[in-house]
Subunit: 427 residues, 2 copies
């Protein structure tokens, strides 16, 4: 039997926010408060940066209402960052600093909610702790709208972006349908720098042949301008309008970003060529080459924070992942990320499992080729079966008397510093 | 007493769609079906174009369920257009064609849901009918997210775009707040080519000093690049992050579009200089001139079709406008647009009045200067008092077993043509 490990815990969030990363934080916090072995519970301002800078705040000082309100508050309430640590040789000073902060505050539990870079960081902290004999447990909680983590059936955050973006495609698809005599082509840019999971999810919006989206383009399939123009012409001839969804990270046969290799590149005031968005590039291409009016929508960060129409299934799973991370750590697990295992499609059921941090850290899961049809521009029944259960239900949100959502914000009672400021060797 | 006018009616939609223009159509249709004097009820495919082309469909053939479902279906289900008719001299052939179609189908009522161009068209059709002694009644129904029609306190469509966009600003404001160590500036581009009503409405999102949006820029106030950069620097210094909302149609002191006069203009494959979006322009400006990372969101048509988080107040008023248009026409009114009159702010109450079509046709209502503060970058209590009641409540939508909204679509049973095809003199 694993011995009980008494001490303090820290929870951190990392990378691009999602609609439900706070639901995971809520799961971690509420479960930690229930576990007697966890004494103090800290939040790290801005992910691993907050730990390195010993910038922690006291989560026990926050009200139960604030903590419960995390489930209806988008983005990363604890604070996030994009700060990639290198390996244990080159960035050893930073990993050692992390352990130094943990030792100074008797932190024995580390819950890191993030993507593969965060799992990589968590893994290395864990390895260094083992090397140095510091008794400590780290469990990762998966988070990414990109849905490209290995070791899990899907990632918390994905179901919500899928639901919101598919809905936006349904709504704006009707706009194109009403306005086809004027604006015949709409191009919607979806997030997804390396994988097409998000763009493909909008295929759920298409219940009938005539529904948007008519064409989907993902980074897993090399993009050809000629084929794209032929596709648009064909749909326009057939339906009189065209609704296109593109992943932001489309690449050509040589693996180069499509939006980077165009004659339409802007030159800025200093003579640098600027990379515009792919949707804008394709909009211009359609107008120039086909001669029909086109427009584009780039939802940007709106898509990853849309708690007002997030998936209940996704949010509940995000919460459960946070909760389970704490239970597993208290029971002795370290060096793993909790993962979601699909047990059944109809009715949909998932369970929480574990994946080694090192495995998650180094992998990326592309959209399977058979989730798209032969042409690669429509989803198949396999994709529908995979993604559909993830968008079921809506997250209840709090709406104020003014008709707008109410979100919570931590008061952030600072934990007194015990160490001198960190002066790293590099960066 | 006005004599009862028996005959057929046609309803048409025009211009950019909104989340609630179908609620107005629903009001027109359901009320027309209740009025004994209205015999056949037709929809015109794609606005005035459908009338000119004698392209009508039978609304009595649609199911009651489809018609009721209009209230939870965004965009223009009847079909819209952007087709501006000229004056009664130059485009006389087209206006005469409209009357010819009306005569051929015994159309005695015309309900046109649209903005000021549509009211202009309706007005001229009405004048020509009077000239030619064709007994006929036309009543306009206001529609525009831009909220810039004169003769009405506000326009159906505005409350919904305000609610959705303010919510998107709240949500993405939290994203900037979490990610400020990486992406410190977010710029959101709001619709509004000539007026700042939409951009200003996002000011409702700012309940506390630190909340987004921190800076709002509208077309009514000439834009200065230098002042913008100073504003951004000041907020960044104070809060560590900046959330900016800009109207798409910002102009400089000379009245020229800001996005048009930049060195960052792209040159397309044919050597033409392309006008990019203002948000993208400002994002590059911040990165180049201030040296902090910025990003932009351009929601485009998403903002005007977001029925999934539309305002109930707005939707109910849109319905009421449609319903009242029919009642007034049946009672003898012609040549007017129904309008919304505010009777009280707290509790909010509005009534339906009438504004002469000709007055609406030629006006545009800018955002009052005192709805913004002295600097012109924040809303005042006056704007809050004006806009706040318009975003209250949510429109109930139908959600399918697949977790996505369900919209209705007309089956469009074509009304047999009675005339030869129209061959106009121009266009």
């Amino acid at each position: 039997m694993i011995e009980q490990l008494h001490g303090n815990a820290v929870v951190a969030q990392s990378g691009g926010p999602t609609s439900v990363i706070n639901a995971s934080a809520c799961g971690v916090i509420q479960e930690s408060l229930r576990q007697g072995v966890i004494e103090q519970l800290y939040g790290a301002n801005n992910g691993i940066l907050g730990i390195i800078q010993e910038d922690l705040f006291d989560l026990r000082a926050e009200s139960a209402d604030t903590i419960a309100g995390l489930r209806s508050t988008p983005s990363a309430a604890i604070g996030s960052c994009r700060y990639k640590l290198g390996d244990l040789v080159n960035d050893r000073d930073k990993y050692q600093r992390v352990l130094e902060v943990f030792r100074a505050h008797n932190i024995r539990y580390f819950f890191y909610i993030g993507g593969n870079d965060s799992m990589d960081t968590a893994d290395k902290v864990n390895r260094l702790a083992t090397e140095e004999g510091y008794e400590f447990r780290v469990v990762g909680v998966p988070k990414t709208i990109d849905n490209d983590l290995v070791g899990t059936d899907h990632c918390p955050g994905y179901g919500s972006v899928a639901k919101y973006l598919a809905t936006a495609v349904m709504e704006t698809g009707r706009d194109t349908e009403a306005m086809y005599t004027f604006d015949a082509v709409t191009i919607l840019e979806a997030m997804g720098r390396n994988t097409g999971w998000i763009a493909a999810a909008t295929g759920l919006a298409r219940r009938h042949e005539e529904d948007a989206p008519h064409l989907i383009y993902v980074p897993e399939i090399p993009f050809s301008v000629e084929r794209f123009l032929a596709d648009v012409r064909e749909v326009h001839r057939r339906l009189g309008r065209v609704f296109v969804v593109v992943s932001e990270g489309l690449v050509d046969e040589k693996g180069e970003y499509v939006a980077a290799q165009t004659d339409t590149l802007a030159t800025d005031a200093f003579g640098h060529r600027q990379l515009g968005g792919i949707a804008e590039f394709l909009q211009r291409l359609v107008e120039q080459e086909i001669g029909i009016k086109a427009r584009y929508n780039k939802l940007g960060t709106c898509q990853r924070n849309a708690i007002h129409f997030a998936s209940r299934t996704d949010s509940d799973e995000a919460y459960r992942c946070g909760q389970e991370a704490v239970r597993r750590a208290v029971a002795g697990t370290s060096g793993f990320m909790v993962s979601l295992m699909r047990e059944s499609d109809q009715p949909y059921r998932s369970a929480v499992g574990l994946a080694p941090l090192a495995e998650v850290a180094n992998g990326i899961k592309p959209l399977p080729r058979d989730y798209l049809d032969v042409a690669g521009t429509q989803i198949t029944a396999a994709m529908r079966q995979y993604a559909s259960p993830l968008v079921i239900g809506e997250v209840p949100i709090r709406i104020g008397a003014d008709g707008l959502p109410e979100f919570v914000r931590f008061q952030r009672q600072r934990v007194p510093r015990k160490l001198a400021a960190f002066i790293g060797r590099s960066k």
